[in-house]
């Protein structure tokens, strides 16, 4: 992820806008192009963020986001509204990213992404804890971008977006068992990248 990538926090009004998004989704489902455009404008940053987390590359993230909205536009008629539009879009984005990553994997053009600048803009009562949390966020983001794409995709969907194991597997086109194995590897790899090996720590009983 490029260093110039700016990071913002989701506005607090996100819950207010979810009602608006549902209304627009309903209108778009009935064939209103303008409503679909408004939906894109309201949700594209969140989907771009997901795409960037999954692909670890800005250019790929743009392609994935575009492809995801195109797929969504073609199948908006089948959107039943029993899930939030954002959740539906996240699934499409994850699916597109998986296809995209699979294509790249086959072509062996994968490169490791550079670290992204992560800034926590939230004020915190404890400045030390705030600095520590900020530093950890940066390190976790770095470690995440260094994970192999297949492991990264699983851990992003499960630990950031909190998708159930079955859905993670479905979105990535793998078996639930494979998803769990990848998640296990990804989490252990992340922990060891961030904190090192615990082999030297005294394991005596306390």
């Amino acid at each position: 992820m490029p260093a110039e990538t700016a990071l913002r926090l989701l506005p607090d009004s996100s819950s207010d806008s979810s009602g608006q998004i549902s209304g627009l989704a309903e209108t778009a489902r009935n064939g209103d192009r303008g409503a679909f455009d408004d939906l894109v404008a309201m949700t594209y940053r969140a989907n771009y963020t997901l795409a960037l987390r999954l692909t670890g590359n800005e250019e790929d993230a743009r392609d994935v986001t575009q492809e995801a909205y195109l797929r969504a536009y073609r199948s908006i008629g089948s959107f039943r509204g029993d899930a939030h539009f954002s959740t539906w879009m996240h699934r499409i984005t994850a699916n597109c990213a998986s296809t995209h990553l699979g294509r790249r994997w086959r072509h062996r053009h994968d490169t490791l992404a550079t670290a992204d600048e992560v800034m926590d803009l939230r004020p915190d009562s404890d400045p030390n804890a705030c600095v520590e949390a900020l530093e950890l966020r940066g390190r976790v983001a770095d470690a995440l971008s260094e994970l192999p794409p297949k492991l990264r995709a699983v851990v992003v969907l499960r630990d950031i977006y909190e998708l159930p194991h079955d859905e993670v597997a479905e979105e990535l086109g793998i078996s639930p068992t494979a998803a769990k194995v990848r998640l296990h590897r990804a989490r252990n790899q992340l922990r060891s990248m961030l904190f090192g090996d615990l082999g030297e720590v005294d394991s005596r009983e306390v």
Binding site: L70, E162, L194, L198, V206
Partner: protein, 120 residues
């Protein structure tokens, strides 16, 4: 019990996905190494969850790109459905013309037979 027997499950325990059996839980409660590993997993997980509320700002131009892609797809769809409708109109016209031709041929044949019978 040794750390190795528990270590494989610590990430899932930290995420609240797995509950260890009593013997393993007792080991973790009394083992500095396992506790440290569990805390590290929890810190990573907490940080990961905090990413959920982030919005990464794409470089300029992504929104217009998406909208123009959708517009182009919409136009292609419109042209395709127009051609589809035209195709049906042509086929319907052709079918009507064929039916009319067949009906005309039947009428002509019937008339010529009648006139032949009258002459004979």
């Amino acid at each position: 019990m040794k750390c190795d027997q528990v270590a494989d499950h610590l990430e899932a325990v930290a995420a609240g996905e797995v509950v260890l059996p009593l013997e393993s839980r007792r080991h973790v409660e009394g083992c500095l190494r396992c506790q440290a590993e569990m805390i590290q997993h929890r810190r990573v997980l907490r940080t990961m969850r905090s990413f959920r509320s982030d919005l990464l700002e794409p470089a300029d131009g992504l929104l217009p790109e998406i909208l123009s892609t959708i517009e182009a797809a919409g136009e292609r769809h419109a042209v395709r459905s127009l051609l589809h409708r035209h195709r049906w109109a042509y086929l319907s016209g052709l079918a009507v013309a064929c039916a009319a031709g067949a009906a005309g041929a039947i009428i002509l044949t019937t008339r010529s037979r009648r006139s032949r019978r009258l002459v004979s």
